[in-house]
């Protein structure tokens, strides 16, 4: 194969990699994962091979609890880190974990990460 063809293939692959990393689903989830029960706001996130939904908008000024669901979760998303809360825990492989977020002000964003850093989710308070 000549050099020009190889350079073109290289560039094509570089674009493909860029698309894999930066493209994809960063949109708001259509699933209703915020619920207010007895004055407490519950935000539910599924953890398995990443977090879903990736972006959530919740109400500010309401006591909020985060519920993380795990189901056969052995990958990194089970190793949850929420830096702003100083929260670090390896979630059970199956089950629900409740995390108290307290009352958040409008404009605050809470970010959760897995310990290796390649999965994340955001909750925005409005």
């Amino acid at each position: 194969m000549n050099k020009t063809a190889l350079i073109i293939i290289t560039l094509g692959l570089a674009f493909a990699l860029g698309f894999i990393f930066l493209g994809g689903s960063d949109t708001q989830s259509s699933v209703q994962n915020v619920e207010i029960k007895n004055g407490v706001q519950y935000v539910t996130i599924d953890a398995k091979g990443g977090y879903s939904p990736r972006k959530t908008t919740a109400k500010a000024g309401v006591p909020t609890k985060l519920i993380v669901n795990t189901k056969d979760t052995y990958d990194c998303s089970a190793a949850l880190v929420i830096k702003s809360l100083n929260y670090q825990k390896i979630l059970p492989q199956n089950g629900e974990t409740e995390i108290d977020l307290g009352v958040k002000k409008a404009g605050e964003t809470l970010q959760g990460l897995c310990s290796m850093g390649m999965y994340n989710f955001k909750i925005k308070f409005e």
């Binding site: 990699l17 990443g50 056969d72 052995y74 290796m116 850093g117 994340n120």
Partner: protein, 339 residues
């Protein structure tokens, strides 16, 4: 006392300088040896009276097994090799990128998110190990194994022994530490910040070795401080080093490993903790063994140079990924991506 200057070929790495000098100085008739990597020459001080051609041949015999040749005249073959090397990088780049693309597509596809269901038995943890060895954990543990293996094969160190020691060290330390977790029921290690820092160190090693394998260092002959290379060469040769690196992989950030550690922790006894971790490590063994022994067989084959450069591209890509993810994990930067 006679002084000679010989041309030396085969110096692909900065640590070659130390290796050649050490071997030459071991000969009792050689008083001093000094390698100049830039000029590809070696200066010898000796008290024998034999002619330079014979001396060059004699010394070549000592270093030949390490891939070096000494000659009185600059060898022309070397020149042809370097022009050929330039073309190789353009073959290596697409190959390396293709592997990276396939790897990350595999991660994104969700195929790896299969359920095992229920309690973690040693059999389940074996399968989890199989999955883990092709998951994002491969970016760190596998990337490290690939970069170290390729480097070790390139440096012509007795690679098979080193790899066996590494894998044995990994299995034994997973067994012992798993057993300890089960027996103590808590409290050793699994500190997130510590594992994240270890992950960063691993990714830096990968970046450095990746560049080295591609030949960036060799081309411009950037000589890092000789002391550093001396240090690396010394530890490369130690029997203990691969064992310790194998041991260290227990603490590298990998979600699967951490899940299994928790499972071992809650298993309640030394023996069951040991079984879970050993089964997990055995599950990861086929892929990791393929990486290390695969690089050894490629390294001694005809396409060695293409292999080293392709491996360098893969390692560099995984290193960048692990480095950025590691920084995000420590909250030093905002996560740039989510696979």
């Amino acid at each position: 006392m006679n002084k000679y200057t010989f041309h030396v070929s085969g110096t692909h790495c900065a640590s070659c300088k130390i290796l050649i000098e050490d071997i030459l100085k071991e000969q009792d008739f050689v008083k001093n040896a000094q390698v100049d990597l830039k000029r590809e020459t070696v200066k010898i001080e000796t008290d024998t009276d034999i002619n330079p051609e014979e001396l060059a041949q004699l010394l070549t015999n000592k270093v030949k097994s390490n891939g070096y040749t000494l000659s009185v005249n600059k060898s022309v073959v070397r020149q042809d090799l370097t022009t050929a090397q330039n073309g190789v990088i353009w073959q290596a780049l697409p190959i390396g990128l293709l592997f990276l693309a396939l790897f990350f597509i595999l991660q994104k596809s969700g195929i790896l998110n299969i359920g095992i269901g229920g309690q973690i038995t040693p059999i389940a943890s074996f399968f989890i190990g199989l999955i883990a060895s092709v998951s994002t954990c491969l970016a760190i543990v596998g990337g490290l194994v690939l970069s170290l293996s390729a480097k070790i094969s390139q440096d012509n160190i007795s690679d098979t022994k080193t790899f066996i020691l590494f894998h044995a060290g990994r299995l034994v330390s997973f067994a012992l530490l798993g057993g300890l977790l089960g027996a103590l029921g808590g409290a050793i290690g699994i500190n997130f910040t510590l594992t994240a820092i270890l992950g960063l160190i691993a990714s830096l090693v990968m970046l450095l070795l990746g560049l080295n394998l591609i030949g960036v260092f060799a081309k411009s002959k950037i000589t890092l401080h000789p002391g550093i290379f001396n240090f690396f060469r010394k530890i490369e040769h130690k029997t203990l080093t691969p064992l310790i690196v194998g041991f260290g992989t227990f603490f590298l950030p990998c979600g699967f490993t951490q899940s299994m550690q928790v499972a071992a922790l809650s298993s309640g006894s030394f023996f069951s903790g040991l079984l879970i971790m050993v089964a997990f490590a055995l599950g990861t063994l086929p892929m990791l063994a393929l990486l290390s022994f695969g690089s050894a067989s490629f390294a001694h084959g005809r396409h060695a140079s293409l292999f080293f450069k392709s491996a360098g591209v893969v390692v560099l890509g995984l290193g960048i990924f692990a480095f950025l993810a590691g920084l995000a994990g420590l909250r030093i930067i905002n996560p740039l991506f989510s696979i």
